[in-house]
Each structure stands twice: as C-alpha cells, then as structure tokens.
C-alpha cells in the first residue's frame, strides 16, 4: 500500500472512531451547556434595551468611548441556513466531529511518518498527548473554550492567535522531542512560551450573558473530552498505521 493511502486509511479509521466517541462525550456535558447558554444568549438578545445592557456606566479613565451594540452583540445568524434543532443539529455536530478528527488523524499519522517514528499504539499515544498539548491545551491557556453569549474579542484575531499558539507549541514540542542539540531545544522552549508572552486577544468587556459557574463547567467538559479524544486518536493512529503499513513503517 502506498504511504499516502496507508495514512488516509489510518486517519479515516481512527478519526471515525474518535469522532463518534467525542460526539457521545459531548452529549453528556458540553452540548447541554451550549443549549443552556443559548437560552441566556437569546434572553440578552431579546432585551437589547434592558437597563443592564444599555445603562450609562462609568469606565476607568483611559477607556475609549465604544459602542456596546457592537462589542456585546450576540452573534447574528442572519438569514443563512442552519440545521433544525434536535436530531439534524446533532447529526451535523457528529459529522463535523468526524471530519475534524480525521483531519487531526491525517496530521498525526503524516507527522509520525515524516519523523520516521515506529508505528505502535504506545508511540501514537505519546503523539496524541502532544496533539492535546498543541491543539487543545496551549490555545486554551489564552482562549478558554467559550459558550455562546460570552464576550469575546474579534473572531479573526482569536483564530489567528489560536492557530499561532497551536503551530508554535507543536513546533516547540517537535524540536524538543526529536532533536538532541542544545540550540534547537532552546528554540523549542522559546516556541512553547512565545504565544503566551504575546498574549491572546481578550474580550472587550467582562459582562457576560452566561453565569460564571456554567462557563467554568464548560471549560472542564471540553478539556476532559478533548483529552480522552487525543489520547484515543494517538493510540488508534499508531495501531492502524502499524496495520496498514506493517513492516514498511521503518522504510
């Protein structure tokens, strides 16, 4: 089997299993919290002239005049298509979870092959934990997982920082784990801390439509399901890569 095909088969098998598993895990805690948060979000949306939202308020000196209509506006779905509540919505969540985890699987398996690592579930598990560190933990340090209705900075700025933090952490871990010379290891350590020295784009206001306790529960729920998923993806990627590539894996 060609290298590309073996990686695609590995990622498809591992991604499908993890995507379905994570969909199940999310139904326990994260998705119910999203639905509950949307009730708060819609309440805030329905009462734009509510005293709390538009009342004149004092800012600390130095805060520029700004429009709350923009910064605290709940997201507009406009007239664009959206899935029907219930089964259709959850089916799309499952589909997008599977596609996302196949994507993560392609990255993980591809990098393991490029780094010429042995294809075993043990090795894969370690890579999966690296994936958790780079794509869940590092971005979450600056941008904790958010519920709908929570204040947040501009989405493009957050996406930019998120991707930067993930790439920087992945390269940092790679340099430290795969090289032995001191210079690349120092560069790796710097890459690990760099995104947090730069700092993530912060929300323009601390006022949130969602209670703090729910927000905290949500962060825990997302971290737990992501941790289990990455560990599982790593182990399965190593396992399937071994199956599909067999003794070729050292070639």
């Amino acid at each position: 089997m060609s290298v590309f095909r073996s990686i695609v088969f590995t990622a498809a098998a591992a991604g499908l299993l993890v995507g379905l598993t994570v969909t199940g895990l999310q139904q326990v805690r994260a998705v119910p919290l999203i639905l509950k948060a949307e009730v708060y979000e819609q309440k805030a949306e329905a009462a734009p002239a509510a005293p709390a939202a538009l009342a004149p308020h004092a800012h600390e000196p130095g805060v520029a005049p700004h429009s709350h209509a923009e910064s605290a506006a709940p997201h507009e779905h406009g007239a664009a298509w959206q899935p029907a509540e219930g089964f259709q919505r959850n089916a799309f969540t499952a589909l997008f979870n599977v596609v996302t985890w196949i994507g993560f699987g392609l990255g993980l398996a591809g990098l393991m092959v490029i780094a010429r690592r042995p294809a075993t579930w043990r090795e894969g598990l370690i890579w999966g934990l690296g994936g958790f560190a780079a794509l869940t933990l590092a971005p979450s340090i600056g941008l904790p997982p958010e519920l709908p209705g929570m204040p947040a900075a501009d989405v493009v700025a957050r996406q930019f920082w998120w991707v930067g933090a993930a790439l920087s952490t992945a390269m940092g871990l790679g340099l430290i784990a795969l090289t032995r010379a001191p210079l690349p290891c120092i560069a790796g350590a710097l890459l690990l801390v760099a995104p947090h020295l730069v700092g993530a784009p912060q929300p323009p206001t601390a006022e949130s439509a969602v209670p703090d306790a729910m927000a905290r529960d949500f962060v825990t729920a997302v971290m737990v399901s992501a941790f289990v998923s990455w560990a599982l993806l790593g182990a399965l990627t190593g396992f399937f890569l071994n199956r599909f590539r067999g003794s070729e894996s050292e070639a």
């Binding site: 979870n97 591809g110 941008l143 729920a221 003794s247």
Partner: protein, 59 residues
C-alpha cells in the same frame, strides 16, 4: 506480500514517502480549517456545536 518489491525500491520510497506524508498533513490541515475555521455562514451554523465543544474560536 510486497516485501521484495519494496526492498528493491527503498531509496525512491524514502524520498516520496516524506512527500506523500506531507501531502496527507496538508489535507488534514484543510479539513480542520474547513470544520473549525471557515467563515461561510452555513458552515459555521452546521459546525457550531463542534466548534464550541472543541474549543475553536467561534463567532
């Protein structure tokens, strides 16, 4: 199975293996970019819960 043919082409396979693996990584980045980061409104709406529950930045 393919052992003998693989063994006789080892240098060629090594070079192209990296290229093929790199292409797989690129494909993975594109998939995650689509599900987690695309700005198309309908994609955002369909992927909404996935994005929130995966810790991707959303709206």
């Amino acid at each position: 199975m393919q052992q003998s043919s693989v063994a006789s082409h080892v240098p060629a396979i090594k070079a192209s293996a990296v290229l093929q693996a790199a292409f797989a990584v690129l494909l993975g980045v594109m998939l995650v970019g689509f599900t987690g980061f695309a700005h198309v409104e309908a994609v955002h709406n369909a992927a909404h819960d996935t994005r929130h529950a995966s810790g991707f930045p959303c709206h």
